[in-house]
């Protein structure tokens, strides 16, 4: 568990960073970006990656901010997981669910160093932040020496530890749209120990009217090789009465139609579907409870 040889540069501006990436992209083994290092160092030590060059982002100014604006939040490339433990960081349903999700990211030392954007770039198939980004319909900003482009979060990851980001591109920020006031959010995760990755997780954002579901977003982790929206379950639930039966029906659709899980050691497919169904149902209940909190907050 010792890293293979690599060169290291620590640029002090975004411009220099993307130039370094462009230069490193042609090297054997390519180039890697170091932000929090919580995944990259492990991959290096296991020799799962062998970049010729590592670009250390930590001296680049302007990447450490969380900017809340009217309809969304912009998260810079150096924002640590720990920032999201603060319930006052972001308003509304997303602000309330972020600390719940943050608690499931690694453990405290990892949250102190690891970054939100780094997690997206690493693209673990059950990562909490990728689930959040996909569920909310986030936009990922990629910058290279050639210019800047944005990619929808749902299009960003193409599988386990694979994304559309080119080696010469730097993930500079993620924009999370925020649901309207009154919405509730619920997140439930299944993992075997406190230090484990999620085996599966469900994130729900729910808007309810007097008797029926006005709108919903249901995101699943552990249902495919990347986080996905449960669009069929969303369609079943939208307009349905706010009842335990509707929730259970949507959960079944999510687990059996939207999800396409693969067997893993200790995780046969039938159990994974069962878990997803239970998680979606419980996340819906949690989101419904949260809409009550939303009402309270807005009244206050």
């Amino acid at each position: 568990m010792k890293a293979p040889p690599f060169d290291l540069v620590a640029p002090t501006s975004i411009e220099d960073a993307v130039l370094a990436l462009a230069a490193g992209a042609d090297r054997p083994g390519g180039v890697a970006v170091l932000a929090g290092g919580q995944s990259l160092l492990l991959d290096l030590h296991h020799r799962r990656v062998r970049p010729g060059l590592v670009v250390d982002l930590r001296r680049v100014p302007g990447l450490g901010a969380v900017d809340v604006h009217g309809s969304g939040v912009r998260i810079g490339a150096l924002v640590r997981h720990r920032a999201f433990e603060d319930p006052a960081l972001v308003p509304g349903a997303v602000g309330r669910v972020l600390p719940v999700m943050a608690e499931h990211v690694g453990h405290p030392p990892i949250r102190e160093l690891g970054t939100f954007c780094g997690s997206l770039a690493w693209a673990h198939p059950t990562a909490e932040w990728a689930l959040l980004a996909v569920t909310l319909g986030a936009q990922v900003t990629l910058r290279s020496a050639a210019g800047t482009r944005t990619v929808a979060a749902a299009e960003f990851s193409t599988g386990p530890h694979a994304t559309v980001r080119g080696d010469a591109e730097l993930l500079t920020a993620v924009d999370l749209p925020l649901p309207p006031p009154g919405a509730g959010a619920g997140f439930v995760e299944h993992r075997r120990t406190e230090a484990s990755f999620a085996a599966a997780a469900a994130l729900v954002v729910l808007e309810v009217g007097d008797v029926s579901v006005r709108a919903c977003r249901i995101g699943l982790a552990g249902a495919a090789d990347r986080p996905v929206r449960a669009t069929r379950a969303e369609a079943v639930l939208t307009g349905a009465p706010v009842t335990a039966e509707s929730f259970a029906a949507a959960a079944r659709v999510a687990a059996h139609e939207d999800a396409d899980p693969r067997a893993e050691p200790h995780g046969p497919v039938d159990h994974r579907r069962q878990v997803l169904s239970v998680l979606v149902r419980r996340a819906l209940v949690a989101a419904l409870d949260d809409t009550a909190r939303a009402g309270g907050e807005e009244a206050a």
């Binding site: 890293a3 040889p5 020799r47 075997r192 230090a195 085996a199 050691p265 200790h266 046969p268 878990v275």
Partner: protein, 757 residues
């Protein structure tokens, strides 16, 4: 008697200040001039013909001093077997793979470089050509499959204990229950993986190693390298855990020792965590079948245990384990007929070896799961059923049908204490309440009463202790045991301080150094206090007698007639009567070295205890939450309760690991599915530790001068059956055959779904 009262009535560990300050000295901390690092290129193929190992590219890597395959080192010795030499015949274990590879992780070549980074770069560049053969991953497959060592049966060893149960006993019994249990393969997982440093010093070889049995290792290395035993010195510095897995003489040790001599430079191999998953040994790995016959009153008539054990690729290290399981098949019960049989097979998994408990957890599991299954079938309280069948205190010493002589025990007392500490009635009431509430998560209570063996067997039932008085008034205690983190500097020195009546600070404890300690067996099988402590206790007493005789003689030479009986020892001073006396340090200064050696021998001891677990099951997900654990252990007389408590807690957590989380899962291609390391192989951490109550009973060991039995392996014996029994109770499973360890959510969900349908 000096005051040893610490926070919990025992001394806290005097080694902790050093360790907590980061001042511990482990093998990897030993900085030597011209030190080289070794790394091994290892097989990624489970089984195959090794056609070629090409180390030429490795030799070109900058910083690499050399790279060798088996072909380059024709004089490399084979790995010596441990326990039963016969099993190695025809099944040579080469230090580097020669014609075959037999498990993923087997060393193919070694690379030596100026540091571990460059050594790994070199190991990366080694190329092997292997013509793959089908892997053999389970004991059952080994029974039916082709011979892995041509000309030699895959069954490397088999034995039976006790007389076969007469057929009419089964036929006429009121009830016969049968169980099938699987002990999964687990990784022993010490914080520090293996570490070995060989330093050539002229014709001598000085070895620093994280190890449990330095004297045996010294003999093995000397013999393998063709050296006299005293040409090799083996020393164990601070060590970060072993749990039974650092007791053998491993292939890597022989390679590194040979290279250090060949290169004339210190060479070390510091195994890393990822490497250890496949390169180090596994623990457990048994398929078990049980049968228990009872009469209408619930009395046990007969018990039968059949063990089919996986030894892994080579039988050398694991063969001693399943025999322990079979020998301990009697459990805590007065069952008139007990018969056990064990067969050990070679496969193509990583070799197995003793792991904390080493055969006794497997035995207790088989017995205690079957006992609770019988209770459920009979509809009787499992506590009552045990009470009815326990060996009575007056039955000891008891010769079990399977060939053990139990020294002493009060099994019912430990169970009563467990039931009280648990407040069983309150939990049963809560269980009933939940059974009436469809929304409540089911709750279950499970027990385990275990008997285990400590001290060792056969030639290992001895230990060396020595106490020397120095002229400066201090003492040196030397012992043949080897601490890998248990706190011997405190506990074993404390034994000596107690006899001498002096402060602990005056005792320097020396162990695990073959250059300093004349002989030794080591630390495994919960033997250090029972065997080493007793040896030191007796040696210290002999030192006092020697000092008294010498003081009397000296006084007599000076003209005064002092009988030995007139000399008393108090706190390191010899009182000659009449106001005359001499400090022992002055006596040494005046008369020369004063030292007593003792080789202690004793039969094995049999600690015991009762465990209870309360669990809650989320039947929708299959999650098990342990709400409460109660452990009542009887280690005989406890010398240092702070240390035994630490041993119990650590062992309990490892038991939780086996029952809920841990397994080395082999894929069909023969590779363990552990690419993500500790994200795949889950070990419990502080977050997974449930509320627990630890209590003890004390039944002194009749054959031990301290009254001590072994401590240290109880938790991982008691916890797994208690937890699985509790889950079976929660789910009201009549046939808990579906509940096999580890109790993953998928396993529990399936069992719960089966029970509901």
């Amino acid at each position: 008697m000096p005051d040893h009262a610490g926070p919990a009535g025992g001394l806290t560990r005097r080694e902790d200040l050093r360790l907590l300050r980061g001042e511990g000295r482990f093998v990897a901390d030993l900085a030597l001039p011209r030190l080289l690092d070794a790394a091994f290129a290892r097989s990624r193929v489970a089984h195959g013909v090794l056609v070629d190992v090409d180390v030429s590219a490795a030799r070109q890597v900058p910083g690499v001093l050399g790279a060798w395959s088996a072909r380059d080192l024709p004089d490399l010795p084979v790995v010596p077997p441990f326990g039963q030499p016969g099993v190695a015949e025809g099944r040579d274990w080469p230090a580097l793979a020669d014609d075959r590879v037999r498990h993923v992780g087997q060393p193919l070549a070694v690379v030596v470089a100026a540091d571990r980074y460059r050594a790994e770069d070199g190991a990366d560049a080694v190329r092997a050509r292997i013509d793959a053969l089908p892997p053999v991953l389970t004991p059952q497959d080994a029974l039916s499959g082709p011979e892995l060592f041509p000309g030699h049966d895959n069954v490397a060893d088999e034995a039976e204990f006790g007389d076969p149960v007469p057929e009419e006993v089964w036929a006429s019994a009121h009830l016969v229950v049968e169980g099938r249990y699987r002990q999964q393969l687990v990784s022993p997982f010490s914080m520090e993986a293996r570490a070995f440093l060989a330093v050539p010093e002229g014709e001598q070889l000085h070895v620093w190693v994280s190890h449990q049995a330095p004297h045996r290792l010294r003999d093995n290395i000397a013999q393998a390298l063709g050296l006299a035993p005293d040409a090799v010195r083996v020393q164990v510095p601070d060590a970060g855990g072993a749990f039974g897995s650092k007791s053998a003489t491993f292939p890597e040790y022989l390679v590194v020792a040979a290279l250090a001599r060949r290169l004339g430079r210190p060479v070390r191999w510091i195994e890393d965590r990822a490497e250890a998953f496949t390169a180090h040994t596994h623990g457990r790995g048994q398929d078990q079948r049980t049968r228990l016959a009872l009469d209408a009153d619930g009395r046990f008539l007969a018990f039968e245990l059949d063990v089919l054990a996986n030894l892994g690729a080579y039988p050398h290290t694991g063969v001693v384990v399943p025999q322990q399981t079979a020998l301990m098949a009697t459990g805590a019960y007065a069952t008139p007929h007990v018969h056990s049989r064990m067969r050990c097979v070679v496969t193509t998994t990583t070799p197995t070896a003793p792991y904390r408990g080493a055969g006794r957890p497997e035995a207790a599991y088989a017995v205690e799961r079957t006992v609770e299954l019988a209770a459920r079938r009979l509809g009787v309280d499992p506590v009552q059923l045990r009470r009815r069948n326990f060996l009575a205190p007056e039955a000891f010493p008891y010769d079990t049908p399977t060939g053990r002589r139990y020294d002493s025990g009060e099994y019912a007392r430990a169970l009563e204490r467990c039931v009280e500490a648990l407040a069983l009635d309150a939990w049963r009431a809560e269980q009933r309440r939940r059974r009436d509430d469809p929304a409540a998560r089911p709750l279950g209570i499970g027990f385990c009463t275990y008997v285990e063996r400590s001290g060792g067997d056969g030639p290992m039932l001895r230990e060396f202790g020595s106490v020397e008085a120095l002229a400066d008034g201090t003492f040196v205690a030397r012992c043949g045991t080897s601490s890998t983190g248990q706190g011997h500097e405190t506990a074993l020195a404390q034994v000596v301080a107690d006899v001498l009546g002096v402060d602990l600070e005056r005792i320097r404890y020396v162990a695990a150094d073959t250059g300093e300690v004349a002989s030794g067996v080591g630390s495994f099988g919960s033997r250090s206090m029972q065997m080493g402590g007793a040896a030191l206790h007796l040696a210290a007493g002999e030192l006092v007698d020697l000092a008294r005789r010498r003081a009397a003689q000296r006084a007599s030479e000076g003209g005064a007639l002092v009988p030995v009986a007139g000399v008393t020892w108090t706190t390191g001073r010899l009182d000659l009567g009449g106001g005359q006396g001499i400090d022992v340090g002055d006596l040494v200064a005046a008369t020369g070295p004063l030292r007593a050696d003792h080789e202690f021998r004793q039969d094995a001891a049999f600690p015991f205890g009762s465990y209870a677990a309360v669990v809650e099951v989320d039947v929708e997900l299959g999650d098990v939450e342990v709400l409460r654990l109660v452990a009542v252990d009887d280690y005989g007389v406890v010398v240092n309760p702070v240390l035994t408590r630490g041993q119990t807690v650590g062992s309990i957590v490892q038991g939780l690991g086996q029952v809920l989380y841990e397994e080395v899962p082999y894929a069909a291609d023969g590779r363990p599915s552990l690419d993500a390391g500790l994200f795949d192989y889950l070990v419990p951490t502080l977050s997974e530790v449930p509320p627990m109550t630890l209590e003890e009973t004390v039944t002194p060991d009749p054959g031990n001068p301290l009254g001590a039995k072994g401590a240290g392996e109880a938790g991982c014996i008691g916890v797994p059956p208690a937890v699985v029994n509790a889950v079976a109770d929660a789910l009201e499973l009549d046939d808990p055959g579906t509940l096999q360890m580890p109790l993953t959510p998928a396993v529990v969900w399936r069992a719960a779904a089966g029970a509901a349908s």
